[in-house]
Point group: C2
Chain length 326, copies 2
Amino acid sequence: MANIQQIAKRAGVSVATVSRVLNNSNSVSSKTRSKVEEAIQELKYAPSMLGRNLRNSESRLLLVLLPSISNPFYSEIINGIQNTAIANDYHILLCETDSKPERENIYFNMVKNKLADGVISMDPTINMKKLNELYEEHPIILCSEYEEGGCIPYVTVDSELAAYQAVKHLIKLGNERIALITSDEKFLYARQRRAGYERALEEFGLPVRENLIYHTKGLDFQNGVHAMRVLLQEDNKPTAVFAVSDTLAIGALKVINMESTTPIAVVGFDNISFSSMTNPTLTTVSQPMYNMGCHAVEMLISSIKGVKVENIVLEHELIIRESTMI
Amino acid sequence: MANIQQIAKRAGVSVATVSRVLNNSNSVSSKTRSKVEEAIQELKYAPSMLGRNLRNSESRLLLVLLPSISNPFYSEIINGIQNTAIANDYHILLCETDSKPERENIYFNMVKNKLADGVISMDPTINMKKLNELYEEHPIILCSEYEEGGCIPYVTVDSELAAYQAVKHLIKLGNERIALITSDEKFLYARQRRAGYERALEEFGLPVRENLIYHTKGLDFQNGVHAMRVLLQEDNKPTAVFAVSDTLAIGALKVINMESTTPIAVVGFDNISFSSMTNPTLTTVSQPMYNMGCHAVEMLISSIKGVKVENIVLEHELIIRESTMI
DNA sequence: AATCTAATTGTAATCGATTACATTTATGTA
DNA sequence: TACATAAATGTAATCGATTACAATTAGATT
C-alpha cells in the first residue's frame, strides 16, 4: 500500500503539497492539485489514519459504554449516536460492560491510551468514582442515567414527571390499587420513577402500599415475570401495574395473560420497538432516544473541542396502547 | 499527559528500556524494571496507542458490519465477537449499514485507511462486488450470510437443513397446509430456507402451493403482520406457518392471536431472546449465535496474521415451544 | 526591466511509540 | 587478573502523516 512519500514522488511534488491536497487546503494551484490527484488514483492511495492520528494526537473515536447491547432500549440511542458521529467525522467504539468491573478498566484504559477521544456512558451500573476520576483528564457525557449534583454533563429525561404522568393515567382510568415494578433503588432513575409514582398516588389521596412495590434484581423479561407472579399472590391483587421498563412490563404482561383471572392494566417505560408488538400492545413512556443519542454526541464533541456544555433534559411522551384499554 | 520520553528521563533510563518494560521483554533487570514502574506510577503514564499503532502499522480494531443494530438476532453474535476480540487484545467498531450504500463506502474506507485491521460482515445486503475487491487487500470474514462459491471465508449454519427440519416438525404434527413467510430471494439464506421447506413437503408428498408462499419486503415485525394478513385471506387457510425469521414469526403470531378463528402453528428462525417472551412462546430454530461470533473473530485474527482459514458450518437446533403445541 | 507582493511549493521537525544494532556492564572461567 | 561470553542498556532510525517556516515562483506595479 502506497504512502504519502510515494505519491509525492510520483506526482513530482513534496509530501507537504500532497498533504495539502488531501486536506484540501486552498493554497494549491489547480495544476499541481490534479497532478497529485492523478497519482493518488494511479497508486490507489488511501491516507493512513495511523500517521494522521499520531500527528494530530486524536483518534476521532468515541467510546460508548452500555450495560448490554441486547437491551433494545439502547438500540435507538445508538442509532442517533452513530449518525451524529459520522456526520462529524467520528466513529464509535461500542462497549458492553455487562456490569463487570474488569471490563470497565479495559474501557477506561482505552481512553487513557488515547484510543478514544471521549466517552458517552449509558451504564447505570458504572463505577461513578472512577468515572469522575477519568473526567478530570478526559471529556465524558452521561446519557440517560446521570449523577445528581455531579459534575459530568448529561442528557436525560424527567423520569419523575414521566412516572407521575403514567401513574396518573392509570388512576384516571379508575385504578386504585396500582403496583410498581421497579429495580434496585441504587439507580437514580428507579428512585425518580418511584417518587413520581408516589406523588401521583398521594395527589389522589391513595395510599402507598409497600406490598404493591416490587424490587427486581434486574431489568430482564424474566424479572418482570417473577415480579408479577409475586404480586398476584397478594390477597388484594393490584388492578394495574406500572413497570419502570418495558422489558419488565412485557414480563408482567405474559403472567397476566397466562395466570390472572381478572384483567390488569400495564404501563411500561422506554417504548422499545417490541412494545408495539406485544399482545396486548403496551402503553408506555416514550423517551426521545434517537435525539438523546444525537445530543450526547454533540455535547461530547463540544467538550473535546474544549467548549463547556450545559445539561439537557429532553421531552418524553406517554404512548397509550391496548394494555391500558381493558 | 506524560509520554515515554518523560518516563525514561524520570527513571534515568532510555526510552528503549521503558518500552521493554511496557512490553515486558525479559531482558530487563528487575532493578531497572522497578525503577521504570515507579516512574510510570508517579507520572500516571499510559502509553499512547497512537504512537504504538503507527509503529506497528496496526490498529487492533476490527470492523463489524451489520444491517441494523436493533435486530436482536445480531445481539448475541456481537456478544461473542466482543468477548473474543477483547480476549485477543482487539476492539470492535460496530457499524450499521442500514443497507445504505453510502455508508458502505465510509466503512470500507475505514479499512483502506488502516483504521481497522479487518472486517466481519453480517450484512446480507452488502455489495459483494466491492467486498470482494476489498478482500484482495484486506482480511474479511463473512458471518451467517455468505457467498456460495465465493472466496471470502465464512462461518454459518446449514439453513436448508434447519428449514427442512422445522417444516418436517410441522408436518409430523399433522399439518398439511403449511405457509412460508420468507424474504426476498436475492438473499442466499432465503433461497436455502425455501429449499428446505420444499424438500420437507415433497418428502411427505405434499404439494408446494405458491399461494402459501409470501415474500416480504423486509424482516420487521410489521412485515410479518402484513404477510399473515394476506395469508389469512386465502380460501384454504394454512394450518401452520414457517417464517424465516423470528421477527416475522412474531408478527404472524400477533395477527393469528387477533384475527384468526382457528389456531395456527408457527415456527420461526433465530431464537432471539424475545421468542421466549411472546404469547404463545415461539418454536424456532436456534443458531449458535454467540459461538458464531467467536469463530468469526478467531478466523479474522488468523487471517490478519496471514494464516489461511477454513469455512465453518455450525450446528443448529429446533427449539420446541408453545406455538406448535396447539 | 526592476522591484515588490502574493501565491505556491518545499524542507525538516514533530507526534509517541518500537526495535535493529551498537555499546556497556556483569558474570563466569582459566 | 585477564579474557570470553552473556545480559542489560542505549542510540538512532522508523512508522506516515501534518505544519511552521523558508524558499521559490508568479503576477502586479512602476
